[in-house]
């Protein structure tokens, strides 16, 4: 754990508690999702974020309400970090009409326009052009906003990644590219899918400043994201962060996790983002005795309430099947 040398991160007791609380909310939410998946209440794909919490929490610290987020199919963590109500997200997982996407999207398509959270894109690298476009609209309309675009390292092999990196650098678009490098694209290890495993180096090709950050260190992520966001807001064009991270669970609930050693997973868990931050912040006196217990109790209550809300919420009536394919016309024919 690195002490924040960067003046942009003000590590007070309140801030440390907030970071830990945000990461804990995601962890316990994800665990509840796994449980309810096994119980059959959540279906389809479910990609858990456990192990990567520091990325979403750290980056979101650097964003304002005006900024936008485009994420992937492993986006429940980002949605919670962004401030979407947990009940709405859980209801979406349950496919209920009270879900943030009215149940139509499910776990991979969490949307909340009032939080400027533009999904939930489940095509690898498919969200990158969208983020560039949101940023282009901001630029053309003279708004000093940032669009943060999260994606995995697998996206770096896709054409849309390179097309968007070029376009964004060429047009100096205010995009914060956040590559969450968890070392495996589903079951394909980085070294068997990339000729150059240094993902941040890809940004250099486009003349885009990039930083490689320890994605298990929430403070380092926050500091790097603040530096990048400041530069973007200052009109310097896009920035790229490669966050080195690891997912502790399988790719999805369908994944038997045969492609990596159990010892490797266990080794990463010993320096996971929550345990590491807790130990460091306790040792340095940033968090106090009882803080962890208080956070856990509050989060447990919030998760229980979210599950209860999702459980009690009604499904959309089947008569509404064809709703929201196109925008309703004011004048019906």
């Amino acid at each position: 754990m690195t002490a924040p040398a960067d003046r942009r991160v003000h590590l007070t007791h309140a801030h440390a508690v907030d970071l830990l609380s945000r990461m804990t909310r995601i962890r316990r939410f994800e665990e509840a999702c796994a449980e309810h998946y096994s119980a059959g209440r959540i279906r389809g794909f479910l990609h858990l974020y456990i192990g990567e919490e520091a990325n979403a929490v750290g980056v979101c610290q650097a964003l304002t309400e005006e900024d936008a987020i485009v994420a992937t199919y492993r986006e429940h963590g980002h949605a919670l970090a962004r401030g979407l109500p947990m009940g709405e997200v859980m209801a979406e997982m349950f496919g209920k009409a009270a879900g943030c996407s009215r149940g139509r999207g499910g776990s991979m398509h969490i949307f909340s326009v009032r939080h400027r959270f533009y999904g939930g894109n489940a095509i690898v690298a498919g969200g990158l052009p969208l983020a560039a476009g949101l940023a282009l609209a901001d630029r053309m309309q003279g708004r000093r906003r940032v669009t943060a675009c999260f994606f995995g390292e697998g996206a770096a092999a896709e054409g849309e990644f390179h097309e968007t990196m070029n376009l964004s650098a060429l047009w100096k678009l205010p995009v914060l590219f956040v590559c969450e490098n968890n070392l495996y694209a589903m079951g394909t290890a980085l070294e068997i899918s990339e000729s150059n495993t240094d993902i941040a180096a890809h940004a250099a090709v486009f003349g885009m400043p990039a930083e490689t950050v320890d994605g298990m260190d929430v403070v380092a992520v926050e500091a790097a994201a603040r530096r990048a966001a400041d530069a973007i807001r200052g009109g310097e064009g896009p920035r790229f962060l490669e966050l080195r991270t690891y997912r502790f669970r399988a790719h999805s609930m369908f994944d038997p996790d045969l492609y990596r050693e159990k010892a490797e997973v266990e080794a990463w868990k010993t320096h996971g983002p929550i345990v590491r931050f807790t130990e460091w912040a306790t040792a340095t006196g940033l968090i106090h005795a009882g803080d962890v217990e208080t956070i856990e109790a509050e989060v447990a209550e919030e998760v229980a309430a979210a599950v209860a809300f999702a459980d009690a919420a009604p499904f959309e009536p089947v008569e509404d099947l064809l709703k929201d394919v196109t925008t309703p016309r004011e004048v019906a024919r």
Binding site: H109, Y118, G119, L128, P129, L130, G133, Q141, E160, T327
Partner: protein, 329 residues
């Protein structure tokens, strides 16, 4: 008093682009070579001088990237017109069109609309061989969440763009490359928006209905003219909108003529012609006096030599023969 001028389809498209850029600051045009080059088919020639490089925006050769950027810009409050040089290259942007533009509204539970217009050239007939001659209108018309229109006339070449920009959802305008040099009358009407939902009867007739769209309209009209010389009265319907299809106009005609021939420059298998024929069978079967006929492109990648290319495409002779078959003549 309305005045009218004789202009080309290309000029009508350009006029529509100019009017859109001039009337709404949110509108911008983005695509390969739309700037100094003036567009591969010269539709945007000169517009960069009038509106600048921000609003007539040349893109890198990255169809998926700039189409997706158009979707994002639409979400961000702009009204982008994305020009994809041809339908052939639009295949590189299918991910963004099908997986993003068409789905965002639905999978967000109705939170967003994507007011994006995508224009592209389509079709064969210029000896451009197999990779530059596709007619894949049906691929896009297959997808719920997008609207697909195909102007065959000068007024539609102008008016469909205005109507498309007023539509809150993604609209794909497929402009047939063989039509750009076609000339016709254009009225300088103030409000030139057209109804995107309706097919149009381009020639009234009594004994058979020819249903077609895009460049097929010209061929169908030529066939109808020849049939008239032989005393056969054929109606020609221009679908105009390929999604949604205007069943009402087609069925009203077929119920009156009792015969239908569908002309489609797509390949027969899985074609729009198949869709229209099926709808006729579903909705007007007992009004038919003969099986529905189809005149489609031969099932071959479009060949380079002119005689083979023309042989592959629907032609007036084939349309005349098909209409006569429905009349057992």
């Amino acid at each position: 008093m309305t005045t009218s001028r004789r202009i080309t389809y290309r000029e009508a498209v350009r006029q529509a682009l100019r009017e859109a850029l001039a009337s709404d600051e949110r509108v911008f045009l983005m695509g390969e070579d739309v700037g100094a080059y003036g567009g591969a088919y010269a539709c945007s020639l000169g517009l960069v001088d009038e509106f600048g490089t921000e609003r007539v925006r040349n893109t890198p050769l990255a169809e998926s990237g700039f189409t997706g950027a158009g979707i994002g810009a639409a979400l961000g409050g702009m009204r982008p017109i994305v020009e994809i040089m041809t339908v052939n290259f639009a295949l590189l942007a299918l991910d963004q069109i099908v997986n993003t533009a068409a789905t965002l509204r639905h999978m967000s539970g109705g939170q967003v609309s994507v007011p994006l217009v995508i224009r592209m050239a389509t079709g064969a007939g210029r000896q451009l061989a197999a990779q530059h001659s596709h007619s894949l209108e049906n691929w896009f018309a297959h997808v719920p969440g997008i609207r697909v229109v195909s102007p065959s006339t000068i007024p539609d070449a102008r008016g469909m763009l205005k109507s498309a920009l007023a539509d809150p959802d993604p609209v794909i305008i497929m402009e047939h490359a063989m039509l750009y040099n076609e000339e016709g009358e254009l009225e300088d009407a103030e409000d030139h928006a057209v109804d995107l939902d309706r097919a149009a009867v381009r020639r009234p007739g009594e004994q058979a209905t020819i249903v077609t769209y895009s460049a097929g309209v010209k061929k169908a009209l030529e066939a109808a003219g020849r049939l008239a010389d032989e005393g056969i009265s054929a109606e020609v319907i221009d679908l105009r909108s390929l999604r949604p299809l205007d069943d009402e106009t087609v069925m009203a005609s077929v119920r009156r003529t009792h015969r239908a021939v569908i002309v489609d420059e797509g390949w027969r298998t899985g074609s729009l012609a198949a869709e229209v024929a099926t709808r006729i069978h579903e909705q007007a079967f007992y009004d038919l006096d003969a099986p529905v006929e189809r005149v489609c492109t031969a099932e071959v990648p479009i060949p380079y030599p002119r005689h083979l290319e023309q042989a592959a495409l629907p032609q007036p002779e084939g349309i005349v023969a098909a209409v006569k078959r429905t009349l057992r003549r």
